[in-house]
Structures are given as structure tokens and as C-alpha cells.
């Protein structure tokens, strides 16, 4: 009774904390552009000047929600861009005049003719420069007729005019990041005025409330307690699951694509961020903090839930440690020390930006530390992975170290049973995950090609667009939105199972060259199905156990839960000599018929 009361209180307080957190995005916030708002927003002087022009004319109106404020920003940028195009675009009329300067037939192109079209003055100079630059390759080229030349120049004009927005105005990507920076600076609200107070009332209260819900579980005797998992709406795809899943998905969409609407949350974590890295909090800092707390708090739940098992205790402490220290603290501290920031345990190709030009440049220009980081990252990916996986199986990473795995093993644990165990799912899994690995390798090769040769395209395909497609589809949509947002629908390891290229790489080693396997215990299996049900990777463990066959599967992350939930002591994760790993199925107990399979 007492226990239920505490838990209910915890639950209510947790919902309250979430509600306040969401409320803070809108409640009592105001956004106002002043000179300070855009000073120092961009490190580029020209941009800074342009911003001045854009916002000089803005009356110091105050907006009360991020939507109308951003609407205003978009309009202002749009107007400015229109003006830029009106001023700087090369008109048809100008082009016609240029062409008219050439003879009707046997034309030899030379850009000098522009003298007559554009005289002096900023605008004219700019247009001439652009035109000259874009046509320099045509110099001295011959065209059979004026029409021929016209065709070519029409195209050139289009190219020039398209670049003008980026050149003189604001490009789409730039608008997006300026929106975020400006919204961030324009904000005043509860989270900027009473930051600490609201931090405690949201994240602080949420953490305390979650613990209030979790700690009373100490009252239960140690042992497997999956009672009611399929009765509760949250853990059996009921309405609670739909709400939680939807909120998570929404959160990831805002985080990846609309961070300008969550500046209140960033402000909330400003003091903390400043004390760590010295910088104000980005959306990634806020996310990292939440992520780390989720692993820590739900990690405590894990520790209580499995407190009869040292295996789970140790590996849970391990994931909490790696998340807190390696993923959260060290990168922030590196920034404070003016070193390249890096999550040292995030391995390529999961860390798909590792070989990106900007990262390589950053690392190679950061002295010994940078070079060491570069070497470390390469060694980990190409030597660390196969060697450690040979000795321990992929679990050394996936359920002991990895951040995605860490979240799955803690926050995701209540949903682990929702993974699909069918043969069909297994088939889809193999195609998908290896497909992503190939995609990651190809993308990275392209990026490296560009880095070393300077050429931006291979076989007519732009390496930049390949990498941005990868970032969007795999890095953000799959890993984030689907990976976590789908916990309540498809279990905790959707990303690890279907999408993670590193898991695929680790899995190949585990499947073909490793000492790791799950062994089964003689004839003790009663085919109850607990092991398969609670396998987060969707492995039909029972299929193997009930025929006495070792479980050797590339996807197994070695979480050890099958072994824990087995009521008959049938399963054991072991690192042993390779020989006999892929055994013939044997069941002990029948001395009459020797059964294989």
C-alpha cells in the first residue's frame, strides 16, 4: 500500500514536471529583436552587416510565442533576399544587350563586352565580376551563331542568379541557423530570468519523481519481476505507449529540424553548460543532459530490477559511466580546454562524421592531442572492434559502452519484449542493417575522396549530397526519430537491430570469428518462451535452446537478459575456445535415440 502510494505520487510528480517543461516553451515567453540580439550572432562580418540592414527597420515589436517570431524572421529574410535578387540578379535585358554586341554568326566569346552593359558602382561591379567569373572558361570559344551563344549564356545567367542569394543574401541553411541563434538571443522568459528555479522544477523534479517511482521497488524481493508487463498500457502498446511514443517522436523532430522552437529549454541549461564548457547551451547540450539523466535514472531502475544478478549490475554501472564521463563530460571539458571535442568511445561508422573534412581538419590542426584522437578513432574502428569482439563478442560495446545501447538498456528496458521475433523480421533485419553498413562505407569513401582530391563528385554524384542524405535518413531520422521514438512500439533496439552500421560491423566479427556464444544446458529447456520474449534484438532464443544448439547470432548484443529470465537455468553467455561454437544441436537425456536437430 505504502509502496503504491509512493509510486503513484512519483508518477504524478513526473507528469507534472513534464507538463511544466513543455509549458515553459510557451508560457510567459517573449521574443524581441534589439541591437544586442544579433550582435555577434555570426562570426562572418558581411553576414553581420546584412543582419544590421535586415533588422534596422524592424520596430522593436515583441512577440509572445516562438512561432510568430520565427514567422517574422522568415519574412524579413525573405524580403531581404527578394531585394537582393532585384538588385543583383542579371536581367534578361542586360543579357540581351551583351549578346547584341556580338556578330550574328561565327561568334568568338570574350567577356570584355560587358563594359558597355555595366559601368561603375557597387552593383554593376558585382554583376560584372560574377559574369566574368562564370564565363571565364568560355573565353575565346567560338559559337556558330548568336543563338548558340544565347543558349549558353541563358544557362550561365540562371546559375549566377541562383548563387546570388547565398552570395549577397541569406541561403536556406544559413537562415535556419540564424533563426536558431536569433530566437535564442531574443528570448526572455521564466527560463532566462529564474533559470535555476525552473531547472529544479522541471528536470530536477522529474528526476526526483522518477526516483520516487523507482526506489520503492526495493521492497520487492530480488528476482525476475516482469509481472504485468503485458497488462500495462505503457508496455503493451496501449494508449500510454502511443502518447509516450508520439511525444518522443515529436521531441526528436523538433530537436533535429526545428531547434528554434526549443530555445527555452536551452536557456534552462545555460548555467550548467557555462560551468562545463564555458559556452551557452546548444540544443545538443540540453539533449545530452536529458539523455545522460535518462540513462542514470533508468539505470538505477535497472540496478534495482536485476539486483540479484551481478552481470546486470556491472554492465549497467558501465553504461552509466561511459555515458556520463565519455559522452557527456569529457567533450564539454575538451571545449573548455580549447581542444577538439570528441566522444572518445563513439566509433566510426556509428560516428559517421568522423571522417568528414571539417572533423579531419579540426583534428589534424590540433597538435598532438588532435592527432592522437585521430589515431585513436581509426585504431578503435579497425583494430579495437575486431580484437575485442573476438574475445568478448559485440557485447563489449553494444551493451556495456555504447550510448545508443546504454539508452536501450536503461530507458528502453521496459519495452524490450516488443521486438518482433518472426523469421520475416530477421530477414528484413539482415538486409537493412548490412545495407546501411554499405551505405555508410560508400558515403565515407566519397567524403574521403573529396577530402584528398578536392573533387566534389564521383561518377557524377556529389559526395556532399550523399553525405547529407545519409545524415538526414540514417543519422537523424533512423537513429533518433525511429530509434528512440519507436521504443514503445517496436522495442528498445530498433536502431541497433535494423540501422546501426557499427552493429553490423561488430556483428560480422561476432558471427564469423569470435569466442562468444550463448550455451544451452543439456535437456533442461521447457520451451516456455521467456528468453525469446525478452530478447530485445528479436532473436528467437528458444528455437536454439529447445534443440540444444548454441546461440551464435550476429545481432546478439549480449545483454544477458535471456539467461536471467530463463526459469530453468538453461542459458549462459560464455567466451570459450572457438572450437565447438557452432555445434550440432544436442539434447541430453535420451540415451536411446541420438537426436541431431
Amino acid at each position: 500500500m505504502y509502496m503504491h502510494f509512493l509510486q503513484k505520487t512519483g508518477l504524478l510528480l513526473f507528469i507534472l514536471a513534464c507538463a511544466i517543461l513543455i509549458g515553459l516553451l510557451f508560457w510567459d515567453t517573449s521574443y524581441r529583436i534589439t541591437r544586442e540580439t544579433f550582435s555577434g550572432v555570426s562570426s562572418d562580418e558581411a553576414t553581420q552587416e546584412r543582419l544590421q540592414m535586415v533588422f534596422d527597420s524592424v520596430p522593436s515589436a515583441t512577440f509572445h510565442d516562438p512561432f510568430s517570431f520565427n514567422q517574422m524572421l522568415k519574412e524579413k529574410f525573405g524580403e531581404y533576399n527578394k531585394e537582393v535578387i532585384r538588385t543583383f540578379a542579371i536581367t534578361q535585358e542586360e543579357l540581351d544587350r551583351i549578346i547584341a554586341a556580338f556578330p550574328p554568326a561565327d561568334v568568338t566569346f570574350s567577356p570584355t563586352v560587358t563594359e558597355s552593359v555595366w559601368q561603375d558602382g557597387d552593383t554593376d561591379n558585382f554583376k560584372r565580376e560574377q559574369f566574368t567569373a562564370y564565363t571565364s572558361w568560355m573565353e575565346g570559344k567560338s559559337y556558330s551563331s548568336r543563338d548558340e551563344l544565347q543558349k549558353q549564356l541563358n544557362k550561365t545567367r540562371q546559375d549566377i542568379n541562383q548563387g546570388i542569394r547565398e552570395n549577397k543574401g541569406f541561403g536556406d541553411y544559413q537562415i535556419k541557423s540564424l533563426q536558431l541563434a536569433l530566437t535564442r538571443n531574443a528570448l526572455t522568459g521564466p527560463t532566462t530570468s529564474r533559470t535555476t528555479f525552473w531547472l529544479f522544477l522541471t528536470i530536477g523534479l522529474g528526476t526526483a519523481a522518477a526516483l520516487l517511482y523507482i526506489l520503492p521497488k526495493l521492497n520487492l524481493l530480488p528476482g525476475i519481476k516482469n509481472d504485468g508487463v503485458y497488462h500495462r498500457s505503457n508496455t503493451s502498446r496501449g494508449w500510454v505507449a502511443i502518447i509516450i511514443g508520439s511525444l518522443l517522436i515529436l521531441f526528436y523532430i523538433v530537436l533535429y529540424w526545428y531547434p528554434e522552437y526549443m530555445v527555452s529549454w536551452m536557456a534552462l541549461t545555460d548555467p550548467l553548460s557555462r560551468s562545463l564548457s564555458g559556452n551557452p547551451a546548444s540544443q545538443w547540450f540540453f539533449y545530452g543532459l536529458l539523455y545522460t539523466l535518462a540513462i542514470a535514472v533508468m539505470g538505477i531502475r535497472m540496478l534495482i530490477h536485476y539486483r540479484h544478478s551481478n552481470y546486470h549490475i556491472i554492465r549497467t554501472i558501465s553504461v552509466i559511466f561511459f555515458q556520463t564521463v565519455f559522452a557527456f563530460l569529457i567533450p564539454e571539458i575538451l571545449i573548455r580546454l580549447n581542444r577538439p571535442s570528441m566522444d572518445l568511445k563513439n566509433i566510426w561508422p556509428l560516428n559517421y562524421t568522423f571522417f568528414y573534412d571539417y572533423n579531419l581538419e579540426q583534428l589534424t590542426s590540433a597538435g598532438v592531442i588532435g592527432t592522437s584522437m585521430l589515431v585513436w578513432g581509426i585504431v578503435l574502428a579497425f583494430i579495437g572492434v575486431p580484437v575485442l569482439t573476438y574475445f568478448y563478442g559485440k557485447r563489449w560495446y553494444c551493451s556495456w559502452v555504447c550510448g545508443c545501447g546504454g539508452l536501450a538498456e536503461t530507458l528502453g528496458d521496459p519495452y524490450r519484449h516488443l521486438s518482433d521475433k518472426s523469421l520475416k523480421a530477421w530477414k528484413i533485419e539482415r538486409w537493412m542493417i548490412h545495407g546501411v553498413l554499405v551505405f555508410a562505407v560508400v558515403m565515407t569513401l566519397g567524403v574521403l575522396y573529396t577530402y584528398f582530391t578536392g573533387s566534389g563528385s564521383v561518377a557524377g554524384i556529389s559526395t556532399y549530397s550523399v553525405r547529407s542524405v545519409y545524415g538526414f535518413l540514417i543519422g537523424a531520422a533512423f537513429a533518433g526519430v525511429v530509434g528512440v521514438g519507436f521504443y514503445p512500439f517496436m522495442g528498445s533496439r530498433v536502431w541497433c537491430r535494423f540501422g546501426c552500421p557499427l552493429a553490423a560491423w561488430l556483428g560480422l566479427v561476432q558471427r564469423f570469428k569470435s569466442r562468444f556464444r550463448i550455451t544451452t544446458n543439456g535437456g533442461q529447456c521447457i520451451s516456455c518462451g521467456n528468453c525469446s520474449t525478452y530478447c530485445e534484438m528479436g532473436i528467437d532464443v528458444r528455437w536454439y535452446a529447445q534443440r540444444g544448439q548454441n546461440i551464435v547470432r550476429s545481432s546478439c548484443v549480449g545483454c544477458g537478459v535471456c539467461s536471467s529470465v530463463c526459469p530453468r537455468g538453461v542459458l549462459k553467455l560464455e567466451n570459450k575456445k572457438e572450437a565447438g561454437r557452432l555445434n550440432n544441436p544436442v539434447l541430453i537425456g535420451n540415451d536411446g535415440v541420438k537426436i541431431s536437430g
Binding site: 544446458n521 528455437w543 526459469p567 560464455e574
Partner: protein
């Protein structure tokens, strides 16, 4: 093409079907009344407790049967005409067979108590029972369980998972003491109480009381005590289901009588699994063995016979396992409830009361006879081999660390077990071997 008809889709019948398919091209038909698809009866408790859904208890995907050309018919077999080699089904008419396997399982044993047919009284064997238990125990406050065996304790755990107050009537002096030696029985009794079960030892059921609507309202114990409750679970054991055999003139005593080849009196008719009774059981084995793996082994054996290689049922040394709330139990070989004079025993229990081992060996020859373990997982292979070899207790104790099957990083009790053994039997010293630290160095 020869036609094999199997009645009962439990582990016994299904194993037979699978192995006949592997070895022959015969037409195979499995008839069962309870469910269309094979499911794991052993997981019944987990469905009730919400650990799993019914679908998770099915060991094979639904399209497995079609892929393997095993026809499934959900129907009740009413009669067998062994002269005409024909089975009469309730809905689907007659079916001819060349080989018939009876794998009809078991039924809960009721002992004609007054009130046993009231609403709110149920055994726990079939899916129908599960449905009844589910509906009888929704929103109730108190239940009584009669019969302290493996199913009774599962039912107690099920009801406790829903915070229903449970009174558990057990006839023996301690829980399951007809099978477990006193030390273990006492330890488990204590654990049952830790789970807030009102355990009444040396208490039986006198009668069940009902109200005017025919609904259970309480029980009277053998001690004459009145306990009010809204549900009574009867778990006083199971009996082989011999209904069909008896109705068809196939000889049955406790179970359907079979010889060592699992053949009944009639050619081409076999009985396997829970429903079978061995006329001459193998040494060390019982005539009726109602556990999962014996059903499986009988299925494997009869499959070999039907496929053309007449094979005798030859289970190896006895083993079994169970779980009492949070304490796992495994047994290998023979550990009698009372150690007879010619055997020695060695019992070790950890001070936490959740880990124990009990080993039995011959006083004269020192031959190892069996082990019970609680809270420690052991390798089946290790003890199976030792039992086959008629190994000496000293060798069993000496290599005990090799037998451990606990998860990594678990506390290994081998050393303290060996030390206790040395103290108890100073003449048979074993040398504890230092185990690698955390399995690493």
C-alpha cells in the same frame, strides 16, 4: 502413403510428428482439442502474470506446420476402432490411420471433495483452466490453494503477482516434503512465507463451501478451520488422461499401459508423454513420469520406431528443474526425500537461505547418486556424465567448479561448498581450486 495420426499436440505428440517428418515422407495428422497450435503448457503461469501473451508460448511460428507438411485438426477424438484402424472425431468425422500415437497428456486430479464443482474452483492444467482462473480471480481478495506441489507453488506466485491474499494448504510437514529432503523443504517453506503466502502445513482440505448462487465462499480445512475465500485452486497433482483409451478398450491402469517400445496392446497404437504408464519402468525411473522432457524423449523414440527402427524408450539418468518463486531448483540423479541407511548425504546451505546443494552418495562404494541444487545453476552435461560413469563423490566434488552454469560475475560458492564437505567428511578431502577472478585472470 502411410498415415500417422497423433492425438494430442503437446510436447510428446508434436515431437513425434516433427521427428517422423524428418525421417519419413508419411502423411502426418495431429488432432488436439485444446488449441490448434502447439503451445507450451509450462508457460501457463507467465501468461497469467503478464510476462507473456499466449502467442509467445507457441514454440513454432504458425506457418511452420504447413511448411513441414504436418496437418493440424482442432477437434476431439471420441473413439478408436483399432480393428478398422480408424479414429472418430467429434466434428470432422472418421479418420483412418496406419500408426496411431496417443499423446493425450494429463488432467488435474480432484479427490471428490464436497463443493469441488462450485464456481470459483479450478485446477491448473489446460487453457480452459487458465481462462477460468483468470475470470474467477479478477478483483478478488483472497484465495485458497490446495496441494503443495510444483503447480501449487506456481499458482501461489501467480495470485501473489496480483496482490491476492493466498492461503496455501499443504499436507506434508514442509512444502513438497514428499519429494524434497527436509532441509530443502524447510528452506522453500520459508521462502514461500517471505512472499507473504499464508502457508498452512500438515493441513488438507475437508470441503469447499458455496453460497446460494453456487459461488465459492470458503473452505473447511482438515483441522476444521473455516477460511473464507473467493477462489479455490486445486493442485493436488495430475493424472494421465486415459479417457479416450478407456472408451476404446485400450488397456489402462493409472495411465495407458505401454511396453518399453511405447506400444499398447494393439499393433500400430502407441502411447507417449504424460498419459503413458510403463509396464516395466527402467531402473531408477517411475512408471508414470509427467514432465516435459520425458514427453519429448518418448516422442523422439516413437518416431524412430514408426520410421522403421524399432527403438526402446531409454531415458538417461533422472533430471528435472523448477522454480519456487525466486529460487531456481535443479536436480540430477536421485536424491530421495529420506536418505536410506546405505547412502550418505551432504547438505550445504548459504546463510542467505537462497542457495543450497544436497548431494547423495553410496556409503560403501562412494558412488555419486544425485544432487539437488537451489539458487545455483549447474551443467546438466557434467552430472549426466558423472552419473553415467558411476563416478565417485570425491571426483564430483573435486571438479565442482566445472559444473557451474551461473551467469558471469555471479558469486561462485564452489569453494565454500568444498570446505564444508571437507569438514563433514574429513576422510574424503577435496582440494578447492582457486577460480579465476571474475572469469578473467
Amino acid at each position: 502413403m502411410e498415415h500417422v495420426v497423433i492425438i494430442g499436440n503437446g510436447i510428446a505428440g508434436i515431437t513425434a510428428a516433427r521427428h517422423i517428418r524428418k525421417q519419413t515422407d508419411f502423411r502426418i495428422t495431429v488432432i488436439s482439442a485444446e488449441s490448434k497450435y502447439f503451445w507450451s503448457r509450462t508457460a501457463l503461469m507467465y501468461i497469467y502474470m503478464g510476462h507473456m501473451k499466449f502467442r509467445h508460448t507457441k514454440p513454432y511460428e504458425d506457418d511452420f506446420w504447413q511448411k513441414n507438411r504436418i496437418d493440424l485438426i482442432q477437434d476431439y477424438a471420441e473413439h478408436i476402432d483399432h480393428d478398422a484402424k480408424m479414429v472418430r472425431l467429434r466434428k470432422s468425422g472418421n479418420l483412418n490411420y496406419d500408426h496411431l500415437i496417443l499423446a493425450t497428456g494429463s488432467k488435474p486430479a480432484f479427490f471428490n471433495w464436497e463443493g469441488q464443482d462450485l464456481k470459483g474452483v479450478s485446477g491448473m492444467v489446460s487453457l480452459q483452466d487458465l481462462e477460468n482462473i483468470e475470470s474467477y480471480t479478477t478483483d478478488i481478495d483472497r484465495a485458497v490453494i490446495v496441494g503443495g506441489g510444483l503447480i501449487g507453488i506456481e499458482l501461489a506466485e501467480m495470485l501473489r503477482s496480483r496482490d491476492i491474499k493466498v492461503t496455501f494448504l499443504v499436507r506434508e510437514k514442509e512444502f513438497w516434503q514428499n519429494v524434497l529432503p527436509e532441509q530443502e523443504a524447510t528452506m522453500i517453506s520459508r521462502h514461500i512465507r517471505q512472499h507473504h503466502v499464508d502457508l498452512r502445513l500438515e493441513t488438507g482440505l475437508e470441503k469447499i463451501l458455496g453460497d446460494e448462487t453456487g459461488q465459492v465462499k470458503g473452505v473447511v480445512t482438515s483441522g476444521g478451520e473455516n477460511i473464507s475465500c473467493q477462489f479455490v485452486g486445486i493442485t493436488t497433482g495430475v493424472r494421465p488422461n486415459t479417457d479416450l483409451a478407456r472408451a476404446s478398450g485400450i488397456p489402462a491402469d493409472r495411465g495407458i499401459l505401454v511396453n518399453e517400445f511405447l506400444e499398447t496392446r494393439f499393433p500400430g497404437v502407441y502411447a507417449i508423454g504424460d498419459c503413458a504408464e510403463h509396464i516395466t519402468p527402467r531402473p531408477g525411473r517411475k512408471a508414470v513420469e509427467q514432465v516435459w522432457y520425458t514427453g519429448r524423449i518418448m516422442g523422439e523414440t516413437v518416431a524412430a520406431t514408426i520410421a522403421g527402427k524399432r527403438t526402446a524408450y531409454q531415458p538417461g539418468p533422472w533430471f528435472n528443474s523448477a522454480k519456487f518463486f525466486d529460487i531456481e531448483y535443479q536436480t540430477y540423479g536421485d536424491v530421495p526425500a529420506e536418505t536410506p541407511e546405505h547412502l550418505c548425504d551432504f547438505y550445504w546451505e548459504h546463510e542467505d537461505g537462497h542457495h543450497a546443494v544436497h548431494l547423495i552418495f553410496d556409503r560403501q562404494s562412494l558412488q555419486f547418486c544425485g544432487i539437488n541444487s537451489f539458487g545455483i545453476r549447474y551443467r546438466h552435461e557434467y552430472f549426466d556424465q558423472k552419473l553415467h560413469e558411476n563416478a565417485d563423490i570425491r571426483s564430483v566434488m573435486q571438479d565442482l567448479h566445472k559444473a557451474n552454469f551461473d551467469s558471469e560475475f555471479f558469486r561462485d560458492h564452489t569453494k565454500s561448498i568444498q570446505q564444508a564437505f571437507n569438514q563433514r567428511y574429513p576422510d574424503y578431502q577435496v582440494k578447492p581450486i582457486r577460480k579465476k577472478f571474475m572469469g578473467l585472470i
